[in-house]
């Protein structure tokens, strides 16, 4: 890998130990990324791809388990002095005014009071917050808060500006406006940072802002490849090339095994996902049953057989990170077939979305027992028990083998939600006790 990268990671892995210390859970697997001067790089991935973890490793906030991290050619041993971060949740100190928040980074570096004020005022001016210097964050709207976040980052003139999903906590219009202004600043050529590294799950946003998009895969997080955005800046959304790129990326994102043309050196050894035997190892997408049926209803209403996912996302103005798990769930349950950026509702799916609630529960129960090994196994275990009940810990322990503790809890919660809807079992949250449901008894 070239040596002039501003921030680089080389064959980096990150794993978190299980609480009991039995095994480890890998979040990032063999990742190499370099940010060169003068470019905007986007890390695009679904939740669980470890993109935020990767950003934090490059920012020196958490150490990598193995591999090397360099900043400006030097190995990193603590918070990275060459970068400044803009946070998804703004991360402003509520007891400081706008200007005091912007000055925090400068004060940390020992810049004197006069100089601090001068530079802070300039940065506030740059992001268009003139007149709000002495306001407190709670007086500002979300968009203005994030402007403060940008000013705080830009005022220290970092080599690389790190953006951690900076627009995803804003409403659609505000996000659009701020994104455009940041892009204008960058294109004007006087941007106070040499490069930008953006973490996002929003495909359009990545294509709009970035010169280069690195696509991350999940379980464990790894680089699937990269897509160059060879368009004149600012990237014009109405150009057919823009739309093609967006659709291409949707196809990549909905198809975990699809190859991406331009593949950097290290990503060639992408580990294939091993087929797992245990029903506890197959992750459920965290989606409520009502949401699945809601999406299917919307799709069925439109008299078409095939739907482009990019269009569906646009029509519902749902970010891809919210939409994909629903499609995954529909696919897993056999209600839809998802491939290459296209979704196709199956006959069962059509039936499920349009029939009465009792019939749809029956259909759901059938599909769950057929296609979702985790719920099916849980139901089987309960039926084999004399008293038909089981403590939640039993299943959580089994799930702990394959997931970090939090994720194991979420897997369990989703399985319980689906199982309850299918009337396979009941769950007493206070006692943490699963019991086989009477309906399931008589039906089976």
């Amino acid at each position: 890998m070239s040596a002039q990268g501003l921030v680089e990671v080389e064959s980096c892995c990150k794993s978190f130990p299980h609480p009991e210390g039995k095994s480890e859970f890998t979040v990032l697997d063999n990742i190499s990324v370099s940010v060169e001067p003068g470019e905007v790089v986007a890390l695009l991935g679904r939740s669980g791809s470890g993109k935020s973890t990767l950003l934090r490793i490059m920012a020196g906030l958490i150490p990598a388990s193995s591999g090397k991290v360099f900043s400006d050619g030097k190995p990193l041993t603590g918070p990275n002095p060459d970068v400044a971060m803009v946070f998804q949740s703004f991360a402003l100190l509520p007891w400081l005014t706008v200007i005091e928040n912007v000055e925090v980074g400068l004060e940390a570096h020992g810049v004197g009071r006069m100089e601090r004020t001068k530079r802070a005022l300039k940065a506030i001016d740059l992001v268009g917050l003139d007149g709000f210097e002495s306001a407190y964050p709670k007086e500002l709207s979300g968009g203005m808060k994030q402007r403060v976040g940008f000013a705080r980052a830009l005022v220290v003139e970092p080599k690389v500006l790190f953006l951690d999903e900076p627009f995803s906590a804003l409403d659609v219009l505000t996000a659009e406006n701020l994104r455009g202004e940041i892009d204008d600043l960058w294109n004007a050529g006087t941007f106070p940072a040499k490069s930008i590294l953006l973490v996002t799950h929003n495909i359009e946003e990545a294509v709009f802002l970035a010169d280069r998009i690195i696509v991350l895969g999940t379980n464990p997080g790894r680089i699937r490849g990269e897509v160059k955005v060879d368009l004149p800046r600012p990237h014009d959304r109405t150009r057919p090339e823009f739309k093609e790129l967006v659709e291409h990326l949707y196809a990549i994102m909905t198809n975990p095994t699809m190859n991406i043309e331009v593949v950097p050196a290290h990503a060639s050894q992408v580990p294939q996902r091993k087929p797992s035997r245990s029903p506890y190892a197959e992750p459920l997408p965290h989606v409520r049953v009502g949401t699945i049926s809601g999406l299917l209803e919307l799709l069925v209403e439109h008299d078409r057989d095939r739907h482009e996912i990019a269009r569906v996302a646009e029509r519902l103005s749902l970010p891809i990170d919210d939409l994909l798990p629903i499609l995954d769930a529909a696919g897993l349950l056999g209600f839809a077939i998802v491939a290459d950026g296209i979704v196709h509702v199956s006959d069962v799916g059509r039936d499920f979305a349009t029939t009465t609630i009792l019939r749809s529960k029956e259909l759901f129960r059938h599909q769950v027992l057929e296609h979702v090994p985790l719920v099916a196994t849980m139901s089987k275990t309960l039926r084999e028990k004399q008293n038909g009940s089981m403590r939640a810990d039993f299943f959580l322990d089994l799930l702990d083998e394959y997931y970090p503790a939090d994720e194991a809890r979420r897997q369990f919660a989703t399985a319980v939600d689906w199982g309850r809807y299918a009337e396979l079992f009941e769950y007493d949250a206070a006692e943490e006790l699963l019991t086989i449901s009477d309906a399931a008894h008589s039906a089976l």
Binding site: P17, G21, R56, A59, G60, L61, P63, T77, G78, P79, N80, P81, V83, A84, M85, F87, Q88, S89, F90, A91, L92, L93, P94, W95, L96, V104, G105, E107, A108, H109, G110, G112, R113, Y136, P137, K138, E139, K145, R152, V156, F162, A430
Partner: protein
């Protein structure tokens, strides 16, 4: 109080003259009072000949109240220093945490007044020939009633700081000092101020108890409002008692207006929510401060020195490179550490048991266990009665916003008013009507503890969401079913909080309520509290150790077996 004073806007307009004058004069007056009152702490003290006495002339009461108030504030300052140091170390160091937090748990359960015998002798030895030793012992008693709570509150905020703010301060490489000042202290400020205010209110009780005590066959008197009451009791002077109660009430209100309200109003800016609060706390003193230019002027003068200090402290605490420890090494170090801890703790317990067994014997221990059970029974009866009486009243008040606004401050006032000022009246009544002190002491303990149940119930009832109340009206939920389905679940968490505080207060109070005097008559109830008080008076070390230890064991056991379970239930099921 607020209605009489000019509204905020008009205060603002007095940019120059009046508000500045008021702030300057107020500050000077406070300094003068501190100088006058504080001087009394440095007088000579060589028992048994040269001991300070207390005059029962009511005109001396303001001075005595001033002496006591000064003690309270010195203790408060000490509690803050302790809190920051202890909480910070406990939250920052994994190793320290495992010792400091359980220790805090135990310290919270040890009866504050049981300490007195140890501390009084210690501090007198520390400052021979000066009253400072007694002053320190009294301040220390107040300190022990405040510091543990506050340190725990600070520690918990540090452990639950919002992750994004922590990352922001890390990524902007704030030195530890700046992170402390900009993030950690501000984030914990609201919780800390409320905690300090409540503990300060409780502190009056211990102040009053510690100003006049008999330790090791020796009576000590420290001039103050508490010792004034004690002197009035032995002189059987009803008038003096009345004046003392009045002065105490006035002092509490004055400190609330001049100190706590402004501090609470100021601390409101440290709210972590990013949206504006519905109803910000108000204070006329705080408004006066804000409209004055004096604080600004002081800030301007101070800022170069402040900057230099920040710079110096920051460069000492600059960000250091990450240390990556081999997990295997860490595990071994961990196990060694744990083993060492177990050995030390086991050794200490062994020493304690050996000491008690060899000096007092087994019979005494079983007697003390029985006495503990008697006191436990009293605490249980008290809590039940207080709940039966005050919960319905609290609910009525809490469900009515106007009543809540009017009566919640009254309940808070009652909680801070030291119950031991009322004890003499109750004692006299017991003597006159021949009430058995074994039952009467329950009433004495309740005088202080019941208010925690009342104001927590008020707060709980007031926090039941309006839509739920409307729903209950709408579906006609009335009478017992309304209580069972809406009110009890709604106030449960608050009641548990109140119950824990009340029970802790009652155990502490047992030391002074199971043994009371009026003139030459002394009433003694059978219980662990009177046992400790008696042992302390006689200076019987083994029995002091046994009594204090037994009470701690009882308190810890009740907390673990009873309150923890209820707390968990409240958190899990009845969390609104």
């Amino acid at each position: 109080m607020q209605n009489i004073l000019p509204p905020r806007i008009s205060l603002r307009r007095l940019r120059f003259g009046l508000s500045d004058l008021a702030v300057i004069l107020g500050a000077l007056a406070i300094l003068a009072v501190i100088a006058k009152v504080g001087a009394g702490a440095f007088v000579g003290f060589t028992p048994p000949k040269n001991v300070p006495s207390v005059s029962l002339d009511p005109r001396n009461l303001p001075y005595y109240a001033g002496r006591s108030t000064l003690r309270m504030f010195v203790a408060l300052a000490a509690s803050f220093v302790f809190t920051f140091a202890y909480g910070y170390v406990a939250a920052r160091s994994k190793y320290a945490e495992r010792v400091l937090i359980p220790l805090l748990d135990i310290l919270q359960s040890v009866p504050v007044l049981g300490f007195l015998s140890i501390t009084v002798t210690g501090f007198i030895a520390l400052f021979p020939g000066s009253l400072l030793g007694l002053e320190c012992a009294s301040i220390f008693a107040i300190f022990t009633s405040q510091a543990w709570n506050m340190a725990f509150s600070f520690y918990q905020t540090l452990r639950t700081l919002p992750q994004d703010l922590v990352e922001a301060t890390e990524s902007y490489r704030l030195p530890a000092w700046q992170r402390f000042v900009q993030l950690e202290v501000p984030a914990s400020m609201i919780g800390l101020v409320w905690n300090a205010m409540m503990s300060f209110g409780g502190g009056w009780f211990f102040l009053a108890a510690s100003e006049a005590i008999s330790v090791l066959n020796q009576s000590y008197t420290l001039p103050g409002i508490g010792s004034y009451v004690a002197a009035a009791v032995s002189a059987q002077d009803m008038h003096a008692l009345g004046w003392a109660v009045l002065t105490m009430a006035f002092t509490i209100v004055l400190i609330d207006q001049l100190f706590w309200r402004p501090v609470v109003a100021w601390a409101d800016k440290f709210r972590l929510e990013q949206s504006a609060a519905a109803e910000a706390p108000q204070s006329w003193v705080f408004d006066l401060f804000r409209s004055s230019r004096v604080p600004h002027a002081i800030e301007r003068i101070w800022s170069p020195a402040g900057d230099a200090l920040t710079f110096a402290l920051s460069s000492v605490t600059a960000v250091r490179p990450m240390r990556i420890v081999d997990p295997r090494v860490e595990r071994i170090v961990n196990q060694l550490y744990l083993a060492a801890l177990i050995v030390i703790v086991a050794g200490l317990i062994g020493l304690g048991i050996h000491f008690i067994l060899t000096t007092v014997g087994f019979v005494e221990i079983s007697k003390v266990i029985a006495l503990g059970a008697a006191t436990l029974l009293r605490v249980a009866v008290l809590l039940t009665l207080a709940t039966l009486v005050w919960t319905p009243i609290g609910v009525v008040i809490g469900l009515n916003p106007r009543l809540t606004r009017m009566l919640q401050p009254v309940a808070l006032f009652c909680a801070s008013f030291p119950a031991n000022f009322i004890f003499p009246f109750a004692t006299l009544a017991f003597i006159t009507y021949h009430v058995n002190i074994n039952y009467g002491s329950i009433i004495l303990m309740a005088l202080g503890a019941q208010w925690y149940i009342l104001f927590n119930t008020i707060a709980g009832a007031a926090s039941i969401p309006t839509d739920l109340r409307e729903m209950a009206d709408d579906i006609g939920l009335r009478g017992w079913s309304r209580w069972r389905r809406l009110i009890v679940p709604g106030i449960f968490s608050s009641w548990v909080t109140g119950g824990i505080t009340a029970s802790g207060g009652a155990w502490n109070a047992s030391i002074v309520s199971e043994i009371v005097t009026w003139g030459h008559t002394t009433l003694t109830a059978a219980g662990l509290g009177s046992y400790i008080a008696d042992a302390t008076g006689k200076g019987d070390w083994p029995r002091i150790t046994l009594g204090v230890g037994m009470m701690s064991v009882y308190v810890v056991a009740v907390n673990r077996i009873f309150w923890r379970k209820l707390y968990a239930l409240a958190e899990k099921k009845y969390h609104l």
